[in-house]
Amino acid sequence: MKAILLAGPARRVTRPLAAWSAALTALLVLNTAFWPAFRDNDGMTALAEGMPAPLVEALGLGDLGSPAGYLWRLYTLMVPLLMAIAGASVATALTARDEDGGRYELLLAQPVGRTGVLAGRLLVTAAWLTALGTVVLAVQLASNAAFDLDMPTGHLAATVALCTVNALVCATASVCTAAFVCHPAAAVGTGVGLGVAGYVASVLFPMRESWRSVQYLSPWDWALGGGPLTSAPEWWRYTGPLGLAAVLAAVAIAAFDRRDVHAP
């Protein structure tokens, strides 16, 4: 693969990386800044004791006084969901939005194959999400140090890595849709929709016994369902979602090679 097939798209997504990094940094720092107040106040824990157990579990209110319990809410919804939205947006910008804007026309008239072009964009998206995950981990570790939140680095790193893996699945789903149809809204909707559906299936469906088994279909649950903030995740929680992303990528490349490129 020609290096320019990576360098060109990578240059274009540096601004979104800065914007998403700033947004997530603000979220993480603000959230962590309230930790000392929660640590020293058991009022929330007492409030949770009066609520139904499944609801307490779903909302992450069970152990607010511990570092892992405090970060649970953030890393079971906000961070993975925002990373999934970011990944789907960037993947769509590099594929469906570029094609819809007519920017594939000159590119694909050069001596490059469609497989190389799409594979390059998938790799840039993966690298972009890795960079965003690195920012999240670095900011959270710095915030922990600043606000005395004593959290094992290994557990935090595993959690952020699994958020990144989950976002990669959503981004690849967006690319897959973009490979079938040049429709940016459909592409970003697929990625974000998969993220939201995955969260609902993983966190909310288990509140009802008869729906509990649906969670096993959720890539979100595969990645984050094991409680990585408190226990080391099994190896398949990484490889399962990564395998799904690889399958989606292969389908995307095959589909894109078979259809007409949208005319500007």
Partner: protein, 297 residues
């Protein structure tokens, strides 16, 4: 191996048949004008050649390579100016040209700088600030800075002022001088007339005429105007005269075939002025697009 060999190319979009079985050849060093109004199928045929869209039927070869299976190899020898160049809004022309050069590997930076100067482009402005004409310049530089053996140009001068159109014609002639073949799609007939060796005219996805520009002009009716001292004679019965219009002593008509009968009729009358205009490609084009004449072609 010819730069372009197309046989039986057809392309449908659902129920719409955009191209209906055309054959097309472009020989080395030849400039072929690809003529037709909007919707005739020119751009569709070009996009099939470049493997941007897949034909419904037919075979397409570039330098002997199948346009799909050997597309990457073939496109090393092809440069393309799209009908409309879209750029990432924040990218500059310099960045785009640099990217094209790295994708191709056959571009000369000195040549690129020379073209930037000749076309008067500021390469450091963001794409979102470029006018249509300046975006067209970027596309032309991206094509002409290569060492391609085939240039495929889709409406290359739209948005360019007359001086730049002249520069474009010089660039095409220079390319031809180096042995480069050119497929020039246009609906600007004068552009094709001035640059092309041969023209192919499309209508509703079919080739309705092809030949040298001189051939096509030769097939066209000549425009005749005559002024008489008195009442004009009745020229309607003269063989070859059509579209007769009389305005007082002033007569306008079109003449197909040998001029002898008309000249004899004019000589018998008291004619004070005669103008028989050499037909141009515009006349040929209009004639071919006249439904009444379609059946005779």
């Amino acid at each position: 191996m010819n730069p372009v060999e197309v046989r039986g190319l057809a392309k449908s979009f659902g129920e719409v048949r955009a191209v209906c079985g055309i054959d097309l050849d472009v020989l080395p060093g030849e400039i072929v004008g690809f003529l037709g109004p909007n919707g005739a199928g020119k751009t569709t045929a070009i996009r099939c050649l470049l493997d941007l869209i897949r034909p419904t039927a037919g075979t397409l070869r570039l330098f002997g390579e199948d346009a799909r299976r050997g597309g990457v190899r073939a496109r090393r020898r092809v440069a393309y100016v799209p009908g409309e160049l879209r750029l990432p809004p924040r990218a500059t022309a310099h960045e785009l040209l640099h990217e094209v050069a790295r994708l191709r590997g056959d571009c000369d930076p000195v040549r690129r700088a020379e073209l930037v100067g000749r076309l008067g482009l500021d390469p450091h402005r963001p794409a979102k600030t470029l006018s249509t004409g300046n975006r067209r310049k970027v596309a032309l530089i991206a094509a002409f800075m290569t060492r391609a053996d085939l240039l495929i140009l889709d409406e290359p001068t739209s948005g360019l002022d007359p001086l730049l159109q002249q520069t474009f014609r010089e660039l095409v002639r220079e390319a031809k001088g180096r042995g480069t073949a050119v497929l020039l799609s246009s609906h600007v007939l004068a552009e094709v007339q001035r640059t092309a060796d041969r023209a192919v005219i499309l209508r509703q996805g079919r080739i309705i005429a092809e030949g040298t520009v001189a051939d096509l002009r030769g097939r066209a009716a000549q425009r005749v105007e005559a002024v008489f001292a008195g009442p004009p004679p009745d020229l309607a019965a003269v063989p070859g005269v059509t579209d007769l219009a009389v305005d007082g002593q002033h007569v306008r008509a079109r003449l197909s075939g040998p001029p002898g009968p008309l000249l004899a009729a004019l000589a018998r009358a008291d004619v004070t002025a005669v103008d028989i205009a050499e037909p141009d490609l515009d006349d040929a084009f209009r004639g071919l697009y006249d439904d009444r004449k379609e059946a005779t072609l």
